[in-house]
Symmetry: C2
Subunit: 365 residues, 2 copies
């Protein structure tokens, strides 16, 4: 595994090699206007904001010379066409979820979230220090793309259900909007998965086209109003323990960028990955309280359902891996890190959090 730091690339290397000679600023800071199509509607301000913040950062760092305009789904292409539009050069960039495109190849699912995969901190560790970003870009290059993590939502909720689900049997025949690859696992449990972009979910649920929906977490879910049509709110979303969103860039456009602009995008994307998690973590606690006040019925997923999901996911990973070497290779690096990392986090982080949660329950904080 390549553990070198993901930013120590040729761009930085060439700067170092050139020493401190006077930089040809005027030549290397061309005015550039790019378009970034987002898969997330503006109404979902937290998640849509990731692309907007990146654009602000890059404009700020380049004195406005590198200007990225962000477009909502439908303004240029639909939310699920974002990666294709970038690969084809319709736009230079997208903010999207890699797992939306898993139907082309399950490898697309790996860097976003896989059922019983990594939590948010583990995702970042794997991307930036575990070689995850490099491995994914070997794959993306074949799609004419270059990708960078651009935000994380935290562990997601298990979604909104019209009726309670207590046992694996209750999942049979359930028509559920579920993003990306997780639908394949859900199919094993008898769920009929529906892949619907964010902007269309509420209408589908309202008119009864679906029985359940998983989206993100309290703050985003609240905006889409699911509590009004499906009050049972389950946790956790075991298929998205720490979903990473991606910036995707057209490979030729990326390669043609001046090194300083490539670095600005890399650093900007990493900063947004921190910033979006902070944004969610600030907004979700109050949103959860408001949802409960509005009638949300909080329910933990039963152990039987979690166990059935875990078993199904293991079977699917083995099946796919048997015929897909890239999937197997990348999945194995995730799996190898996962066990040791959860064991580690159980020591200081988990014990600390547990004590603090008990203090909250006791009314001490």
């Amino acid at each position: 595994m390549d553990r070198r730091h993901f930013l120590r690339n040729s761009a930085l290397g060439s700067v170092a090699a050139a020493g401190l000679a006077a930089p040809a600023i005027a030549q290397q800071a061309p005015k550039l206007r790019w378009r970034m199509t987002s898969s997330y509607p503006k109404s979902l301000d937290t998640i849509h904001q990731g692309a907007v913040t990146l654009a602000e950062y890059v404009r700020g760092m380049t004195d406005g010379a590198f200007d990225i305009q962000v477009f909502a789904p439908g303004e240029i292409v639909g939310g699920l066409q974002a990666a294709d539009a970038v690969a084809e050069g319709t736009v230079e960039a997208a903010h999207t979820s890699s797992y939306y495109y898993w139907g082309k190849d399950p490898v697309w699912a790996l860097p976003t979230a896989i059922p019983f995969g990594l939590n948010p901190r583990q995702q970042n560790a794997w991307f930036y220090y575990g070689g995850g970003n490099d491995m994914m870009n070997e794959f993306y290059a074949k799609q004419n793309l270059y990708g960078l993590p651009l935000g994380n939502t935290g562990a997601q909720m298990g979604g909104w259900y019209r009726k309670e689900i207590a046992t694996p049997e209750d999942l049979r025949g359930l028509k559920m909007r579920i993003g990306g690859f997780a639908g394949k696992i859900m199919e094993k449990l008898g769920v009929v998965p529906q892949n619907i972009p964010g902007g269309d979910i509420y209408a589908s649920l309202e008119k009864g086209a679906i029985d359940a929906v998983e989206w993100v977490g309290p703050y985003d879910d609240e905006k889409l109003g699911f509590v009004k049509v499906a009050p049972y709110y389950y946790y956790p979303g075991w298929w998205e323990g720490g979903a990473t969103l991606h910036a995707m860039f057209n490979l030729e456009a990326w390669n043609a960028l001046p090194p300083a602009y490539q670095t600005a995008l890399k650093v900007g994307c990493q900063a947004v990955t921190c910033d979006m998690m902070a944004n969610y973590d600030w907004k979700n606690p109050d949103a959860l309280l408001r949802l409960v006040a509005a009638g949300a019925q909080l329910r933990p997923m039963s152990e039987a359902i979690m166990d059935a999901g875990f078993q199904a996911s293991q079977e699917v990973y083995a099946e796919i891996g048997a015929g897909n070497e890239t999937f197997r290779k990348i999945f194995d690096t995730i799996a190898a890190f996962r066990g040791n990392s959860f064991q580690y986090q159980q020591i200081a982080d988990y014990t600390y959090d547990t004590f603090m949660m008990i203090q909250k329950q006791k009314g001490n904080i």
Copy 2:
């Protein structure tokens, strides 16, 4: 509370106000060489790396024009003189722990870590969206400083002890190296705290000048070799549930920076905050396994000690707050967020992590 995004400052505002007029790049990208003194020795590569990575990012984004040189403690000033050296203008910048300087005023302790304070994600939420960074900079401005979070270590370990500590009584008279403000809480429990910078700890422990030491976590602790002289390794470090390190800049030097360089530093610091956590999370799991193999005796802090620490911390916060309005005001924003946030994280994140930790214990992952 000011919830506006911390980067929507006047620098970005002025860029937006100027629209897309051709930027005067040559004028606004002067060659600049700054010195950043670190409080952390080079041997602690993970934590020292935060400043080095920031410097790489900024050089990369400015084509080498803004060149920050990082110095280890002792090369210019000692590790505990870093903030003073910046305030006085000896150097333009430091990478340090704000709580090292709590003796001047306990407010310095608040943004790093306080006993039973915020975990890493909560720290970021409070800084970037809860007004924490703005509040701290009102305070830092009076010290002639501007500060930005620059890295987080995660929940730290409770340290290395020559003998087992089972009850609060076992803490009485214990000479313990403990960083920053936590020593004041420990004093209430009868500990005799010692504030010793990283490079000097091992020697103090080896020659018996201290009985125990808390430092960071497995990867850093391993490098300092504590397992050889104090094998009982307790968790969690309830005084550092998510310690944030800081970049500190001389206020006049900061204010004189071109807006693009200010943004480069802000974005770079936020990216490093993500990057350092990823670095620790990648390296700590294996380090913990190696430490256990080398003889570390892992021990959870007893509930009696945790409860005593919690009680002591509450008393100290009330005592300080009674006579220090700035402390009280900032502490109250931390405390208000803390309870709701732990309640929220208990739902999806904690339940997910718990299930995965159980799978690890079962040997399923």
